[in-house]
Amino acid sequence: MGDILGLVGKRLGLGLVILLVISIIIFFMVELLPGDIAQAVLGQGATEDNLAALRKEMGLDKPAIVRYLGWLSGAVTFDFGASVVTKEPVISLIGERFMNTLFLAAYAAVIAVPVAIILGILVALLRNSIFDRVANVATLTSISSPEFFLGYILILYFSVKWGMFPAISSLSEGMTLGELLQRTFLPALTLVLVVVAHMMRMTRAAIINLLASPYIEMARLKGTPPWKVIVKHALPNAWAPIINVVALNLAYLITGVVLVEVVFVYPGIGQALVDAVSKRDFPVVQACCLIFAATFILLNLAADVGAILTNPRLRHPK
């Protein structure tokens, strides 16, 4: 156990360094974007006169490095500053949206992960049958269609033609959980379709990969039924790659859902990030990117820890 704690500690420390590097990269990329905040805010209505006034008001007359250090000194005390455009604290601006994003990701994950793993085991069991082929083609087709397009098709059938679910997932105060689940079903389903294929194929591959191992052969020769061979013998050893790909897809569910948010008008963090980029609103861009990066790092860590915990050989090193 001590090893694992040590590993976690080391990885967390490394994660902090990575976050710092990312914050520097993001800051200078935002700086490099053509035009500045003042121009983005005023748009076509900008004249030299009001641009100068706005720049001064926003503190853009200070050099870039000073502004970055100012932000950084706040960030180390968990004060991520305020939006340059709206003057609102970043936390209150994106906090609720991040919760929405997490909710949608959790909703999709709760459906997608079991479905993908069970399907993966089934197709491994029935490998090279018609069922395997059909599942393969269907999942490949679903990952190869652009997400927004999948969303449009789902909207066409589930809301326009059959009227089962609302076409837009706007949230409001005081919704019951049932309403919430019904409202957000279509975006969740779109995400499920996007991620299931990858996880299912991984599960199948990981299991099939083990089927040639001597101990599986042994189990089979003993006369164990095929499903038992897979569930009892192959699966426990296949967890590491499966957990890895699940973690990767969970990260995607949180960080890669901008398009789904746009299509279903879901108030998540992705839309806020794209808006902030278009307005050059550096503190908001920075906060969103750091949240995403932290999510990614934590999920990766969790996957590695999970892989160790599920593998007896790694759990008890020689």
């Binding site: 990329m29 490949l140 269609s145 927004f148 098709i153 990969n209 790659p241 990030l273 790092i297």
Partner: protein
Amino acid sequence: MSLFVIGYYTLLLVVSCLAAYFNKRQVFLLAFSLTLVSFILGIVGGTGALKAVAICAGLLGLTAMVSYAFREFLIQMAESNVGMSFSNNPPVMYVCLIAPIIYCILAWLLGWRFGEFAFALIIIVILLIAMKTETAKELRTAPLTAAFGMFVIFTYAIAGIFAPYIAPHGEAEVISSAFAPADAEMLLGADQLGRDMFSRIVFGARNSVGLALTATVAAFVLGAGAGLLAATKGGWFDQFMGRVADVIMSIPSLIFALLMLSIFGPSTPVIICAVAIIYAPRVFRLTRAVAGNVVVMDYIEAAKLRGEGTGYLIRREILPNSTAPLVAEFGLEFCFVFLLVAGLSFLGLGIQPPTADWGSMVRENATLISFGDITPLIPAAAIALLTVAVNFVVDWMLFRSSGLKEQ
């Protein structure tokens, strides 16, 4: 009860009986369950539904036959053993390869004609070199799905390379009114400006596949190169590259691309660079893992003791022993690149119009799908077909090489 319906059921029953007689369990199950399903479908949907089933089955059969024929064709080609004569004469091989490559690059830079043919020649030479008896042996093991995949890729390659000669109209040429229906002149109808959809799909094969291919290759050169180096050298270089990969992977890909394209403007080279940078770390990780397993092998130790350099180790020892998972990853990444580019064009940062690109074509007319108009489905289907085809081939390769541990 029309003649069609009677014939339909008779055929199914006869096939079931024959399958049962010859003890073909799979075929029997398929035919028999199809018969049962057809009963229900026939009652619910009438003759129309049965016809649809028959058409689907026919298409499936046709595809299977084409794939079979294509596989046999490839096997025949391979058995002729042309490749051997090339490998026996290395100078001929190099001349045949390098001359068209030079012409191709010059044609691209200076705008000469027939660049397409030079490019096609390169591919043909590469294929011919691969045509050996061993390849024939391998090809025999290919399932029909893989043959189908190869056939589709072959077709797309032809369409892409010879687009200007195949497409009946120019890619930006306005020839009719907006959304004109299909006719003898325009196989798939017109798009929102009255341009021929079929021509744009054909040109899209060149632009989209070309872009995705270049970007994926770039990602692989970067990622696999760094991964192999890191695995061989180890030490601080390994650590450093690993952390760089972590940083890039932690930035959400769409946002990274969005920033890159906003800074440098949405032109094709920038898209390729952005995509290569985004996907290189994934390739790096995989290569590093696979090569890491190879590096600890005894024969590498032996080579090191012999005093071989890093270049030799990578080229002759490590790379040949880790290609299988890399090829598999290539197939998947290739498909993801399409989707990323399509996603970018959804945010208004795709390839420059009026260049035909499948992702942008889906997006431009995507709203029409709400009215049951199939215009946006055509480019989407083109993407899906290629993805499925590539992965069929990849699946076969994976199956062939059991040395695969991850991905």
